[in-house]
């Protein structure tokens, strides 16, 4: 949808994006501090007048050598890293500011958003008196109320606790799925990213190093170093087939059932589940007498080194790719090699709720 | 000695020349400070270090005399001149009724004797009521001159002293019977009662040399 081909230079830093295309859905922008994430967002919105090159939204050229669409006409919603609530307006009037200027555009109503982000108790307050996390929530609400054609979010949930995040993420998912607003989402938190995003873009020192579908990139051992060893891990999709009596939900993957803590979703829905490479244990034989319920038969497809002591093992389980990170010693002890059949053991509860979400590729296409 | 003379603005240029002559003759110095007569009076009352005053009127020195300063004496008589730079030289005062004269400048009658004189002359010529709407006022005779000279007012009653020779257009010295005499009095102030320069300068004002200068600046002599 959005194509960016732009260059901007500061003293000692250059952002350059060659033929970068942002697909619809949620694209996570992941990279180290100072790698140029915020700058890229600013370039897309048109806030960096110094940027040279071309930005186009579908057929609509926002910026090229001869033309420049000013930021307020691009229809972009922006959640700034530093919130930027208007200090002279109450929370209610900050929200109304956005709402009024987006009258008639399709999207959630003010009340919806106040509810979803639990902003009710804050409405009469001055932004200066809000806690860090409360400010973030207001800023998210305000950006959503512009009913943007595209949403740029710069670490929107960084100041929030896990519980708050868990409350807000479903709302963003609904936005993604029901309204279909494309989102470019900067985060240092891979759990958020995998839950929301279907595309992943890795940026390093001002250059896009990897860009592609989330599940492919996460299961790509080559991208693992860029993600950090703790974050590597595949995303698989499964169908919710049953809610069992003891509170577990049963999901059917391509090869075997997975049992996870109760998932509040209709039977038959497709779910995305992230399995961190470090949470997968490999066994040659199907083990018994273990508390782990989830044992997936798989075939080793690739083994690559991942640091001194560990290897990254890519497994194929039906159509799904799974990554497992095991010590060299274990790999040797098990005699792992490409093509070998084995069992991937996943602790059910090690799949964090934040890693589960409806598969929007299935529901929204 | 050095004396500080408070001089009404309309007489400032003449006073400066007189001071130079006085110094050449006696070796005494006279410094000039100017201002409107009313302001000078307020300052004198507040203890200003002025040794003598050359007022633009007779009333203020009289008042000062009554308050215990020296004796007032006239040093010059102001001449009121009607000036209309864009009118032909041979016009008459009735030209003020002409539509091409949109504004007539006079000094503020409440503040400046020249203003009171202008008002009196206009009244006596039975022109005042007809031209009331055209009147604009300067706070003193210097401002009044500026109003006419800049062209903002097409005509005005000014001091002959202000014209200083270079006359264009219609200039008429208003006949003295149309307005009360503009007697300008000088007075030795309490601050200057022991100041030889101050006393000397007051005496010098009556000398022939000084009277020549005063006349040259457009004043009549007392």
């Amino acid at each position: 949808m959005l194509s960016i081909d732009i260059k901007i230079e500061y003293q000692g830093f250059m952002l350059q994006t060659c033929q970068t295309v942002l697909a619809s859905g949620v694209t996570a922008l992941f990279g180290r501090s100072g790698s140029g994430k915020s700058t890229l967002l600013r370039v897309i919105s048109g806030l960096e007048a110094r940027a040279k090159g071309r930005v186009a939204w579908g057929d609509e050229v926002w910026q090229d050598d001869s033309h420049f669409t000013p930021p307020h006409k691009r229809g972009i919603g922006f959640v700034f890293q530093d919130t930027r609530l208007f200090p002279h307006l109450t929370v209610a009037r900050n929200l109304a500011y956005a709402d009024k200027r987006a009258r008639g555009l399709p999207g959630a109503s003010l009340d919806d958003i106040v509810d979803a982000l639990d902003l009710g108790p804050l409405m009469a307050r001055n932004p200066a008196t809000l806690s860090g996390g409360e400010q973030s929530r207001c800023a998210i609400g305000r950006a959503l109320l512009t009913r943007p054609r595209m949403l740029l979010m710069d670490e929107p949930l960084a100041a929030l606790d896990a519980t708050r995040k868990a409350e807000i993420l479903p709302y963003l998912e609904r936005l993604r799925d029901q309204i279909g607003t494309p989102i470019l989402y900067v985060s240092h938190n891979m759990a958020e990213v995998t839950r929301l995003a279907n595309h992943l873009m890795l940026i390093d020192a001002g250059r896009i190093t990897h860009s592609g579908p989330l599940s492919a990139l996460l299961a790509d051992p080559a991208a693992a170093p860029a993600l950090g060893p703790q974050e590597a891990g595949a995303v698989i999709t499964a169908t919710l087939t049953a809610h069992e009596a003891d509170g577990l939900s049963r999901l059917q993957t391509a090869t075997a059932p997975l049992f996870l803590p109760h998932i509040d979703a209709p039977l038959g829905s497709r779910q995305r589940i992230r399995i961190l490479a470090q949470d997968v244990i490999l066994a040659r034989e199907a083990p018994t007498g273990l508390s782990a319920l989830n044992i997936l038969p798989a075939v080793v497809s690739q083994i690559s080194s991942d640091g001194d002591a560990a290897v990254m093992v890519q497994l194929r389980a039906g159509n799904d790719l799974i990554l497992a990170r095991v010590t060299r010693r274990s790999a040797a002890a098990l005699g792992l090699c490409a093509g070998m059949a084995c069992f991937a053991i996943v602790k059910s509860v090690s799949v964090a709720p934040a890693h589960i979400g409806p598969d929007h590729n299935a529901t929204h296409q | 000695d050095t004396a500080l003379a408070a001089v009404a603005a309309n007489f400032a240029s003449a006073a400066t020349e007189l001071a130079t002559g006085f110094t050449a003759q006696t070796g005494h110095e006279v410094q000039i400070t100017t201002g409107s007569t009313g302001k000078l009076y307020a300052q004198i009352t507040a203890g200003a270090p002025f040794d003598l005053m050359l007022s633009a009127d007779a009333a203020t020195p009289a008042r000062l005399q009554a308050e215990g300063h020296g004796t007032a004496a006239p040093y010059a008589i102001g001449v009121l001149t009607l000036w209309a730079p864009d009118m032909p030289k041979d016009s008459t005062p009735r030209a003020l009724l002409d539509a091409s004269i949109r504004h007539i400048a006079i000094a503020n009658p409440d503040l400046a004797p020249y203003g009171a004189a202008a008002k009196s002359a206009l009244t006596k010529m039975r022109l005042f009521d007809a031209i009331t709407d055209k009147i604009v006022m300067g706070q003193n005779i210097g401002q009044t001159f500026a109003l006419v000279q800049s062209g903002a007012a097409e005509a005005g009653f000014i001091a002959r002293s202000a014209l200083a020779g270079n006359v264009t257009g219609y200039a008429w010295d208003v006949s003295p019977d149309l307005y009360p005499t503009i007697r300008q009095d000088a007075i030795l102030l309490a601050h200057g009662k022991d100041n030889a320069a101050a006393q000397g300068f007051l005496e010098y004002l009556a000398s022939d040399a000084a009277r020549d200068v005063i006349a040259r600046y457009g004043y009549d002599l007392p």
């Binding site: 806030l47 930021p71 307020h72 919603g77 932004p127 | 949109r102 006022m137 401002q143 903002a152």
Partner: protein
């Protein structure tokens, strides 16, 4: 003791009010431009803006008189276009007062606009606010204190100044004779009692107004970056 003629007071208030309003309309965009421009002309225009203050009011008035006079190009042009002279007219007073009070409007506003910074304006852009919209809904309210300062300085300065006004206006009762001239006249004619009364009226009135303005400003603060 009888109350002196209050006509000049109303005229003064009208002049000060109109001058301040026009100055606001003219000065706010200028200050806004100055606060944000990267033009090399900026220091030049800033310096020019402060310049009217340097000349004594009467002298500035004198030069304006020359400029406004129908004999001058500008003054003549004005007469041709409007049929009226700028000198000795209320319009002329307003223009002269505006010029003289310009620095008091522009400088505090510029400094307040600069303190607002780019961040909130960028935020407004991303909320679909166009340039004018941003100016009125973000820049102006956030620079509120600067507006207060600018308005108070411009208004009171126009109330009190008369040097310029006197020269250009010709002190015509009911038309260009403002209260400051009236008080001045009383002082000059050694009519101190009337001067005291008028000055007291002006002071009390102004003080009451200012007190009200500042009290309201305190009671209804518009947020602000505490």
């Amino acid at each position: 003791m009888t109350l002196p003629d209050l006509g000049p007071l109303w005229l003064t208030l009208k002049l000060a009010a109109i001058t301040t309003v026009f100055l606001l309309i003219l000065g706010a965009p200028l200050a806004w431009w100055l606060a944000r421009t990267r033009s090399r002309l900026k220091p030049l225009i800033e310096a020019l803006t402060a310049l009217p203050l340097v000349l004594p009011p009467t002298v500035l008035g004198f030069y304006l008189l020359v400029l406004f006079s129908p004999n001058s190009t500008f003054g003549g042009f004005w007469v041709q276009v409007t049929g009226e002279t700028l000198t000795f007219s209320f319009t002329g007073l307003v223009i002269a007062s505006m010029l003289y009070s310009l620095p008091f409007m522009v400088q505090p506003l510029q400094s307040a606009f600069e303190a607002v910074g780019r961040a909130p304006l960028e935020a407004a852009m991303m909320l679909r606010a166009g340039p004018l919209d941003r100016f009125f809904t973000v820049a102006v309210p956030m620079a509120k204190r600067g507006f207060l300062t600018a308005l108070v300085l411009s208004f009171t300065h126009t109330l009190g100044e008369f040097g310029v006004v006197l020269m250009v206006g010709g002190n015509i009762p009911g038309k260009t004779k403002v209260i400051s001239i009236a008080i001045y006249e009383h002082v000059e004619t050694i009519n101190y009692a009337d001067a005291h009364v008028l000055a007291a009226i002006l002071l009390v009135f102004s003080f009451a107004t200012l007190l009200m303005v500042y009290t309201l400003n305190r009671r209804f603060p518009s947020g602000g970056n505490t």
